[in-house]
Amino acid sequence: MSNWQRFVETFFNAKVMAKYLPDIAYGMLVTVELAALVIVSGLVAGLALALLRSLGFRPLNLLIVFVVDLFRALPPLVIIVFIYFGLPAVELSPSGFVSTWLSLALVLMAFSEEIFWAGITSIAKGQWEAARSTGLSYGQTLMSVVLPQALRLTIPPLTNRTIAITKGTALGTVVAVSEILGMASSAVSNSYNPSPLTLGAGAYLILFFPMVVFGRWLETRMRWKR
């Protein structure tokens, strides 16, 4: 057997791939669910924290900054393990899926809060003053004038962060979540052949490549002439 044949046999073994394709497809489904939950809840929570922070209530802001810094500092894997193996001690037993979702959502919340906040503070004071001088309330100014401009500015860093954190769904494999990587590695152990990992990599590409392209499209669309 030539080296090339051995290489193909190891990483692109058609028989193994065909056998485990349904497993990987199932893993993809779980990954999509997990990713969608993380993105929606993480971004909503991050935006909510940024809006709360803009009220300028000092004790609350100190708390928000502390929570945000905590979840920006901790590695997501540590948070997952902490929730999954730690919470049962207080009579809570979240599943691997829930642990992974919570951890990644908290991390995305923390990073997106900082990005939303940076966007809000980057809007010139004159925009606030102009809106307030016409009688708009604080909340109306925030929602109609400041946030629409801030969100456009945040899209490039936000898409990057979202993609980076969402890929962390693969970490769920350590707490037995049957997402793509989890399915692929058990297939590797069962078949003594790494081809399922190739399938898994392909599955990640199929999921995340469109996300990257979508992010790029959003960035160009949201740019506006000054």
């Binding site: 010139a124 004159g126 925009q127 003053e129 102009a130 809106a131 307030r132 001088s133 016409t134 009688g135 708009l136 309330s137 109306q140 109609s144 004038v145 629409p148 401009q149 456009r152 506006w224 002439k225 000054r226």
Partner: protein
Amino acid sequence: MRLIVEARGIHKHFGALHVLKGVDLVVHERELVFVIGPSGSGKSTLLRCLNRLEAPSAGSVIVDGVDLLDPRTDLNRARQRIGMVFQSFNLYPHMTALGNVTLALRKVAGKSRAEADELGRAALARVGLADRAGHTPGELSGGQQQRVAIARAIALEPRVMLFDEPTSALDPELVGSVLGVMRDLRESGMAMVVVSHEMGFARNAADRVVFMDQGSIVEEGPPAAIFERPVQERTRAFIGQIQRH
């Protein structure tokens, strides 16, 4: 004549800085008051106290019978009656000219979109920009942007308009169009307070010129008196300086 703006004994401190030192300013119906003075004299701060963008440290501000410093006053409602135009236009860049003009009409005055659009178009027509309603600020010249900002304020039918150096950020050839709109507004009987360095405009459009220096009003009177026969030494020095250019 009815008083529209009545500011009494206004003090403003920024930390250790005493920016306004007991300023009185009244504006009557249909009156154009022009405020001049060297930079740092407190004229912009005074203007911003008149709609409470800046809260005075002491004193009272009554606009159209409403006490702006009374905590029970609905400030957002009161501000509808006080139009303000800024040096840097401050248009909303993500909205069209019409969107800029109609936002407060819809959100504050409670007009329907159709009503607001109609009033907004009328306001844009008054500043000569009926044909620019669909343009965003980025597609407009500085002069046009400032006229949209004026339309945004007058659409709410204010009782007084405050202008904070409205032409200072404009290229010289665009100044005329903005001053033209201000002159039309003055002729329609709008009470106005204008902080500006456009002395030519002050001479032929102002009813009263107020000269401020170091946080106080030094001298006030009709433009001819202030420009030709200033009484105070500081006024004379300032007028002399600006006329040398």
